[in-house]
């Protein structure tokens, strides 16, 4: 009988112990939106290597086509943290916590660019009325919210103002769309456009920046609020903010044209919140 009880308790420990062992062996999962150069396999691979080396564990980078998919994965716990846009961060402000904000050209800020073909004579958003327009993503601040809110302030809806709008689900794709002439104009992340101007000048030289928005909080790294204090999340946040101190980290930052990742707070995103206020239906 004793022997039977012993075997039973060993079996129970084995069954109960499995999730713990599995959890410990699983990699840290970081969700990536097309906010940066998501098509660049080299950047992604370097980021994975640098973070893995710093954590001492493998890291899994998870990409999805839309902001909405990544945001949903973050909220439902499918990913541990994600590099998202300020717009979805504010949309789910109560459930998300900032774990770092990238610093670009000395500040944790960026702009939205309104771009057109290099030969286009337009000088402002109003000149594009009746044309075709490329947005990045309906949940992107620079790739949708800025232009949509500017139009809302002028009393227009994008679908009515433009003859046709398309979503390319990638800032680089917006530049491709405008550069090829598929659409006359596009709304794009200024950081991405400037990075492309350095990395792929052939692409951006066919486009021209018609207007720039005000400075706004740079797309941040976020985690679910209830998991923000989890050791692996805290550790990941620390690694992010220490990237610029290691050679591998600096290489990643160099490829991303970023200075470093730093602490940030929600006040960085107030201008986005103001624009969201102009689009009540999307809030």
């Amino acid at each position: 009988m004793k022997r039977r009880r012993f075997l039973k308790s060993v079996a129970t420990m084995a069954v109960l112990g499995t999730p713990h062992l599995t959890r410990a062996a699983s990699a840290f999962r970081l969700g990536l939106t097309p906010v940066f150069l998501d098509n660049d396999a080299v950047v992604i691979d370097r980021l994975r290597s640098a973070v893995s080396a710093a954590i001492g564990e493998p890291i899994e980078l998870i990409q999805r086509r839309t902001y909405q998919e990544i945001t949903a994965m973050l909220l439902d716990g499918s990913v541990d943290a994600a590099w998202i846009c300020g717009y979805p961060f504010l949309q789910h402000r109560e459930r998300l916590a900032l774990i770092g904000v990238p610093q670009w050209r000395g500040r944790p800020l960026y702009q939205s660019y309104l771009i057109a073909g290099a030969e286009d004579s337009a000088t402002e958003l109003g000149d594009f009325e009746g044309g075709t327009h490329a947005f990045s993503d309906p949940d992107s601040n620079s790739g949708y919210l800025v232009t949509a809110s500017d139009l809302a302030r002028a009393g227009h809806a994008p679908e009515a103002f433009f003859s046709r709008t398309i979503f390319t689900y990638g800032h680089r794709n917006v530049v491709r769309s405008v550069a090829s002439g598929l659409t006359r104009s596009g709304s794009v992340d200024g950081y991405v456009w400037e990075s492309l101007a350095q990395g792929e000048p052939d692409l951006t030289e066919n486009t021209r920046v018609v207007a720039k928005s005000e400075w706004m909080g740079f797309p941040p790294f976020a985690a679910r609020s209830d998991r923000a204090e989890a050791p692996e999340v805290r550790r990941f946040a620390e690694i992010l903010k220490a990237l610029h101190t290691s050679d591998a980290g600096q290489e990643v930052l160099r490829l991303l044209y970023l200075d470093k990742v730093r602490d940030g707070d929600a006040s960085l995103f107030e201008s986005i919140a103001l624009r969201m206020a102009d689009l009540p239906e999307r809030r």
Binding site: R164, I166, N173, S180, G181, L182
Partner: protein, 473 residues
Amino acid sequence: MKVVWRAWPVTLRVALATGAMMVLLGLIASQQVLSTLTTLQNDRLREVAQSHVDGLGVALSPFVLHRDVWEVYDALDRAQKANAGERILFTAVADDSGRVLASTDPSRAPIDMEIESLFEDAVPVQDVVAGESGNIVRIREPLFVQGREVGTVLTELDVSDLIAQRRNTSLALLAANTLATLVLGLAGYWVVARLLKPVELLTSHMGALGGTPQPIPDHDIPKSDSTLAQLLFRFNDMVGAIEARSEVERRLADRERFVSLGRLSSSLAHEINNPLGGLLNATDTLRTYPDRPDVVRDAGDILDRGLQHLRDVSQAILDENRRDRSDRPLARADFDDLKLLFEPEAKRLSQTLNWQVNGSDADVREWPSAPIRQIALNLLLNASAAAGKGGNVGLVVGIDSDTFSLIVTDDGPGLSRQAEDRLLSATPLEPGGGVGLRLVRDLVAKLGGEIAVARANAQTSISVRCTAGETDA
């Protein structure tokens, strides 16, 4: 042109004919090659087009169904970049309403453009043919999702490489055929020239010197080809035989004159014998009545007439046999001589002689005496023999402007086939026959004249007509 072609040497003609056949063969072969190449190219093009359209269909149909402009463009753009520098030049995709969703060149086919206005000459994949409308072919194919047509794909393919390949093949074939034709033509010329050299040699010796065959010198006969050498030796033998035969015929012709005289000899003996009786009577009379001057005078007259007649007969015979008279012109006296020679034969056979000679000496002097006399005598003897005892024989000589005519008639049974052949044709003489008529034919031919035979009212008429100035040299 035909005459010029025939005048060319046979070696050149054979070489040119070989070349022409080579060109024809080359054209047919080239046409076959190009036809096969075109078929292969079109099959290959259709394969490429089908593969391209099928690939696009698989990749694009869901996006076309959802009218996702960016994804359609992105797929097209990536496909275009993957095929950079290759066959696909341009592709546009439209939704089921025919409006462009995206294209590889938005400036050419912007969003919402009517796709119908893009290509009017686009065809389905199975109808694609390379090169019919320049370096580009345009294809139009529907896109399906679960059997439902959701849109259209239009694509332009660059076929310049196929056309260039076809052109290069054509040029290569042309060059190769030209070279082959040239080389084989020259080689054919050389070979044929060598093969036909003996034939040329034979031809030149056959036709030389106005058609009289000449023997080929032994040193010109090739030693390498025994068959040809045998042929050429045989030719030389044949030339020798012809010469021998000509010589025989010439001798026969010469003898014919003696033959005709021989045939006349008995008659001529009578002709000499008959006056001899009278002459002997006259000498008897002179011996009996030497003192009667009137009788002596009459006997002397008889002697004189008889001797003159004998002189005429012997003169005619001498004339007939004299060899150096060939250049003497014809005169009426020639026919008198003939009559003197022939009349006794006619009398012997109790034949009626109708002798009619028209024209003056001046009229007939255009023609030579000897052959005309021989012709007339041979024909008269022939007529006399045909007419038989108691028959009718006639001679009519006339001049009509510049044509001399001689007609000999008889009421015999007519010329046999063999006799007619001898008189009118050049067929070889059959053994046993005379050569008189053949001699007539040869003499008339030399005079450039014609012979005609007619049979009417139980009378045979042989006419000889010679025109002045046509004497065969």
